[in-house]
Subunit: 379 residues, 4 copies
């Protein structure tokens, strides 16, 4: 595994826990954790056998079969392409890359590697929350009829204080994107995953609601103290966009860091001719389902607790009514990835899926720059 920030902890938990609950066809070993500084302590903490500072050297090792990339987005392209070239299966955290051009290179490399039996996958773990996987199953089985509308939003509020400092996440050269790429990407991927349709064109706006913030003084990161000087916020605080889906539905999206009181509200509602679904990541064990074919007096959204033995991913976990949490998706991701490697199958979301999300993000930025006119995502 390359990288050891917050995502490193989550991925480590996935590698550690998945084999204890799922019967995997291959037993992963947590071999080497790579980081420029401090990887040694993280490796001990998280249970990796070794640590290293040079990812190139690790990629060349014969005893390494899988490379898990959890570094910042601007490094994904180089590492992933090198790892694939070295014949390693690659799990790459989202976003696939910071630009469409990078993502295209990576997709090409993945396609070429696949011909040699090398697998690659992007880390959109919210596909692997049992409730979202079950949502996809319900749509696929026709329970919603024809999907007409989608509302997908990812709402947070950690920037509502205008005195919150100007961290690296608010600078475009470092972060690449703001709310749009960070959390909007999840809303797009989840929409495409659950509906089985692609966003083909978009019209939207991205906006920076607080244009200047205090520069960080002493200290680093979020814990640094604010200085009295101010600097420009160069990423978006909020993205609002509409998309047409390949199956004919209209989708409305929002990604925001200014929706006061919403902490991690990745929410999606899908409206079809025979039914509807609603999901909220803040209540991730629940799925609301509406069956429009019931008699009029018995219509209503139903709160399904997605904790039954027969729900996706649930069988090896706990009895009915015992909740899963955020990090379980990472165990499911490891399980699916390892299973696909063993089966010689293409795991999803593929780099092509990740590239498509990148194209949608890029189209939103271009639409915003062009007065919200419609932009084709295949362009």
């Amino acid at each position: 595994m390359i990288g050891h920030g917050f995502m490193g902890a989550a991925h480590s938990q996935g590698w550690r826990v998945a084999p204890r609950f799922f019967d995997l066809p291959l037993q992963p070993e947590m071999a080497v954790l790579v980081g420029r500084t401090g990887a040694d302590a993280s490796a001990r903490k998280w249970g990796w056998a070794e640590s290293a500072t040079d990812w190139r050297a690790v990629i060349d090792r014969d005893d390494i079969d899988v490379v898990d990339i959890v570094t910042p987005g601007d490094t994904h392209r180089e590492i992933a392409i090198a790892a694939l070239a070295a014949g390693k299966h690659v799990l790459c955290e989202k976003p696939l890359a910071n630009t469409v051009a990078e993502a295209e290179e990576m997709d090409a490399a993945a396609t070429a590697a696949a011909e040699r039996g090398i697998r690659s996958m992007v880390g959109f773990t919210y596909r692997r929350v049992p409730a979202t996987t079950f949502a996809r199953d319900l749509v696929a089985s026709g329970r919603l009829g024809q999907v007409r509308q989608v509302r997908a939003e990812y709402l947070q509020d950690w920037l509502i204080d205008p005195e919150a400092p100007l961290t690296w996440r608010l600078k475009k050269d470092l972060a690449g994107s703001g709310a749009l790429g960070d959390i909007g990407a999840h809303a797009i991927d989840l929409t495409e995953y659950i509906t089985g349709q692609q966003v083909t064109s978009v019209s939207g706006i991205i906006e920076t609601l607080v244009a200047e913030r205090p520069l960080l003084g002493e200290g680093v990161g979020l814990s640094g103290t604010a200085s009295s000087e101010r600097g420009a916020v160069t990423v978006d605080d909020v993205a609002l966009f509409t998309g047409r889906l390949s199956g004919g539905a209209l989708a409305s999206f929002e990604a925001s860091r200014f929706r006061t009181g919403r902490k991690n509200a990745l929410r999606i509602e899908i409206s079809g001719s025979k039914g509807a679904l609603a999901f909220d990541l803040e209540r991730l064990n629940e799925l609301e389902f509406y069956d429009a074919t019931l008699p009029e007096t018995q219509l209503g959204f139903q709160r399904i607790l997605v904790t039954e033995h027969d729900h996706p991913y649930l069988a090896p976990w706990w009895p009915t009514g015992h909740m899963l949490g955020y990090e379980h998706g990472f165990s499911h991701q490891v399980g699916d990835f390892v299973t696909a490697i063993h089966a010689g199958a293409q795991p999803r979301p593929s780099f092509a899926d990740g590239l498509h999300v990148q194209r949608v993000l890029d189209a939103v930025e271009r639409s915003s720059a062009a007065g919200s006119t419609w932009i084709d995502t295949s362009a």
Copy 2:
């Protein structure tokens, strides 16, 4: 109508509005409002043609067909029996009476009057919230299978401040009962109505949680100022009891004025072998229904908005999704009462139903006094 407190306003609204929405077989006229003091102003305010101070004189008038009693409970017996004797149809606000003995007399009078075609009914209006009526229909149609358990509670919190003054409602000689009779009666009636079963025995406790409160000084009622002296609270603040139902189910009841944050939470949940129902008066347009016969992955409580044309009482009101409020039950009550009078049918809840609730309340008090031993409600 005799009496003009809070219930007078609600009943007046029922008489005023019902004929404007329902096609009633008889057109009620709001003839006389009776009250010892101030009835004149209330009559003008609420739209009664006349006011009077002597209910006996009004009862003797030939142009009066119906007597609606909304006075305090200790006067119900005398007025109702006189009205029935005078050949008037009687609608009596709950509780039917303050004691079982009074209620028995009234029931006897009602039975005798019925033979002469005179109708009588008790004002448990929460039976006429569309959601509770629909709940009864679902149970009756077998959608819940065999009812196993009931949880019924009526929760308020207006006494949590120990410095709240000692009003008449907290004195047994004036109020008759505390939480038990005032709101527990509704929980009992609603349980019997929806399940179609009777409470046959009870074990419980009633308790006064704050034994002394400031006496009222200057002023009257709730707006009076508290004096520095204290007096004893002589009614119950909370009642907790368990009941056996005639169909074999176990029911658990609570009535409380100390459930902090609950304003008017008459809630009932009914658990059956094939399904369940949950209702909360604080969301009176909704009914939660659980169909246990669905496939395991699709189980879940369903929030039915009880506002469809085909739901009980809904047809003459507004389009789907337009909410009803508290007082609509009083229009439904008027509609049902007038319809029953015209049809020569016995309206429900009858005085016999009201008597039975009184017996349950009495049994709870006796059980509490006897160390929570079980008391038969037919005794």
Copy 3:
């Protein structure tokens, strides 16, 4: 009152009930109901003293002080201008008119009439739900700090069946507009009312999701039987748009008749630098409030039951925790209108407010026609 459809029933209930609960400075009399056909029966049913077929004749009567217009939108201009010219105070149901041009004429007439002491008001009653009025108060008092984002949506689902027939509401020549004008207008007005800001520009799309529907055969209205022939739906099924508000906030709007399972979900969420609010008309007695100034561990949306004596409009109604319904807004509207007339004050929403909503609707249509480019609402 001129007109006697669904809105006629609601307005009648307002005129009937308001004086029974509120101490109005003037006592309204329900004088004449005007309708081309059937007004006689409606007048009897709803309690109007007379009925008439010619609104012009009624407007000329000296004993008429107020004209309440509840006819279809295409007739508003002519009636309202005539009534104002005749010196009658005018309450006009929303939308003010079917076009901006008509609304401008009406606004000019209202302004001229106001100089003669004649009052006029538009019937956006959702401003008078206690929870929305209280929401406005909270924003105005600064509890939300600076408003950054608004999400306003009005969701219904009565068109999800593609075989639902082609009624007059789906034909532009008769209905003027689809979801946008019918329900989107409420979302716009509520946003402007609660935030105290105006929508200054918009970008959006309106779309017809089911382009053809069965023609109505025998019978009329919604109850008509479908024929085997099909005709074109010429109004929008859904409108998605973004607006800039005069105070700097971004607002995202949706009006839809295809949001499966949502019956009457007028929902608004307002995100500010110090707090947030969320309201849903399907739970109209509740307001969710988030106070961002609380300590971190105590943050959370709070479900306020807007039924306290000190909440707007609540004092004359029922005790705490007793719910109001849809039609109470019409009583509040009558109360406010009558009070303003007596006080010689301009009631809100004025015709100017109604005109502004019309301009926003028009700008959305033009933006949609122009590829979702931004349109100034003052243009």
Copy 4:
């Protein structure tokens, strides 16, 4: 660790994960898993270094410091006492024992061992859900004022089908108790933990709602096929009881396996003179808090997402708004236990706490047998 059923998986996850997130003063090693049959496979699956079949031999090993007991309740006494005698720290899954007499022996052994620095703890993990720990903090800090009432319930529904087979859990000689001991114990412990008060006396009833069920034919456990013969259910399906708390509050309890639609609803609501709290295990990341000291118009239950850095146990986990699940409590349990061992402090809940719960359970059974009369829990 001795035992390897469902609780074995959960405890293993706790031992595995706790050191990866919390900075523990001692590093636990997962040494030996003991089981009569199949421990070998479980040990491999869950990551224990060795397996064994004879717990006595393991307890005697010098390299073992801690014994974690997750066997059925009837074996707890013998193993725990032996382990304590051998100088091992003991974590014993709830219930502490199947009878008060056994629990008393264990408490005596734990008290004696404590004098030698040997620690013991009972596994009521629901105390270690961040929301319940935070609830305790709020009560302890006085935010609720004087606690007046508690409602605690643990509701499941896996027995509603009368044809569900007669498994060992429904036989008193094997299971010891039914709903009362299995889940009611949690409701009691959580009440005592959050309020800081003890249940001093109880009145209640336990009941078997379905008296006979099909015997298991071929196969074992829940997956066995039902035979055509029937046998008697000898444990309770439901327990309903009222308790007096040492601080003067009244508590109402329910434990049921017949509350249709409720899967794992351990719910508690605490009503105080200044505030209230409500928790539901089915939404374990949330705590509802009501502050009764706010102005009247701003009162309401607040949904606190207990996922902030400063909430109990949260700091080493994920960012705000990322959910924890059922098994996190087991990591917290391991962390607290190891920390207490290192600090030489008595961990809670102690065996004395476990004994007290056992006394309450016993008193409920005796009250039920004695016609629901009140029984002192200290007797």
